[in-house]
């Protein structure tokens, strides 16, 4: 279980994360949604201990240190691989540092996406780079896989493949936290949706609960956001009403 309790993050005076409390049990595929700047990346970076934050983040009860950091992997649209190295060189590097690295999964995924093993990553197309980034996150042997907009730049067919691969390859005890703008596309593969707005969690619902309510994910997201924008338009109306008197 990955638990966040009252996590706050400030960049100077700007509050990027506001009192985040979230529990991610094993085996869930969770979609993390929100506008740009809502705090999705900041949330993931806090889990990975890339920066300081206040509050508590624990993995199976323990704080996240070098002892258990290998249980979390990360794929980002910024790409975290070494562009001079080949795919196989990455495999060697990962095997050295992550004892649970799965070579079997690596070979299968490289094969599925038809990626070259011995050429530098720099020579790959954007779509292939995204694919490789995801491959490494999936093969590290992590229990919690965090993906920050991993499909930026892939065409829709590529993305469909991605989703199928994710579903086919994830074990029941592996957790995926996936942040993306492509709400409709991922609404079938996720089991839970967490909504972030201006650093706060404004929604957290399982797809089962969504189904029961008869709403689509898009409806739910619009609703939670409309609530906020209603306040704004009502306030403006009140103002105008006052002015016209």
């Amino acid at each position: 279980m990955l638990e966040l309790k009252n996590v706050n993050k400030y960049y100077g005076h700007k509050r990027a994360l506001s009192d985040i409390t979230l529990s991610l049990p094993r085996g869930e595929i969770v979609g993390l949604f929100g506008e740009n700047g809502a705090g999705k990346t900041t949330l993931m970076k806090s889990i990975l201990a890339y920066h300081s934050f206040s509050g508590e983040i624990t993995l199976d009860g323990d704080p996240i240190t070098k002892n258990n950091i290998a249980k979390i992997s990360f794929a980002t649209s910024e790409h975290s691989f070494f562009s001079n190295l080949s795919a196989d060189a990455h495999k060697t590097f990962y095997q050295e540092h992550f004892p649970k690295f799965s070579e079997k999964r690596f070979v299968a995924l490289m094969d599925f996406f038809d990626l070259r093993h011995h050429t530098p990553l720099r020579s790959f197309s954007m779509g292939q780079k995204n694919q490789f980034e995801v491959i490494m996150a999936l093969c590290q042997g992590a229990d919690y896989i965090l993906m920050d907009e991993p499909f930026a730049g892939n065409d829709v067919f590529n993305r469909e493949d991605f989703y199928k691969v994710l579903l086919g390859i994830l074990e029941p005890n592996e957790t995926l936290l996936l942040s993306t703008h492509l709400i409709e596309e991922v609404s079938d593969i996720i089991g839970r949706a967490v909504l972030l707005k201006q650093g706060c969690i404004v929604g957290d619902i399982t797809t089962e609960a969504l189904e029961e309510s008869g709403k689509t994910l898009m409806d739910y997201i619009k609703e939670t956001h409309r609530y906020r924008s209603d306040r704004v338009s009502r306030a403006l109306n009140d103002l105008r009403g006052e002015d016209s008197q």
Partner: protein, 177 residues
């Protein structure tokens, strides 16, 4: 035909490189710069030799009658440290300058891709600082060793080439700077 195993196999070299610099970063340009620096420091060291030769020649005079070079009366060689002076400054400066490679190594993880994200989440907390620092440290050590070597060689030249009569004091007093 028997193939003897080379001392440094490709594998070993790769392994060492893995500690000296970020993955995929070539050290050739930095090594070249360092080699140039060492060369320059050696050239600067030649100032000692010129000072020594000057002092050495000052010990002698040419007899006007016999046209033979003879030792002047009461000629004394200046103490070693005055002649050596800062001849090793090049190496000492280089030992400090090589640390400019450190931020350069660190910035590598932010160029093209953000491989810093992988480095920061490795269970091995020492790999990132090692890859940033160790090449500079290695170069600094080599510089200092070169400095020590030129000091030794310079002193040996002083000790062996100078006529015994001109040496003032004992071995260790010569060496004290």
């Amino acid at each position: 035909m028997r193939h003897t195993k080379p001392f440094l196999t490709e594998e070993t070299k790769e392994h060492l490189r893995g500690y000296l610099s970020p993955p995929g970063m070539s050290l050739s340009s930095e090594a070249g710069l360092f080699a140039t620096g060492i060369g320059a420091a050696f050239v600067y060291n030649l100032t000692y030799l010129s000072r020594y030769l000057e002092a050495y020649n000052a010990l002698f005079e040419t007899d006007t009658h016999t046209r033979v070079r003879v030792l002047r009366d009461g000629a004394v060689m200046p103490p070693f440290y005055t002649l050596f002076d800062n001849a090793w400054a090049g190496f000492l400066l280089l030992a400090v300058l090589v640390f400019v490679f450190v931020p350069f190594h660190y910035s590598f993880y932010h160029r093209e891709t953000k491989s810093i994200y992988v480095m920061k989440r490795l269970p091995n907390r020492y790999l990132l600082p090692t890859q940033c620092l160790s090449f500079s440290v290695l170069c600094a050590i080599i510089s200092l060793l070169c400095a020590a070597a030129v000091l030794l060689v310079s002193f040996l030249i002083y000790w062996l080439a100078t006529p015994d009569a001109c040496l003032s004091g004992g071995f260790f007093s010569q060496l004290f700077l």
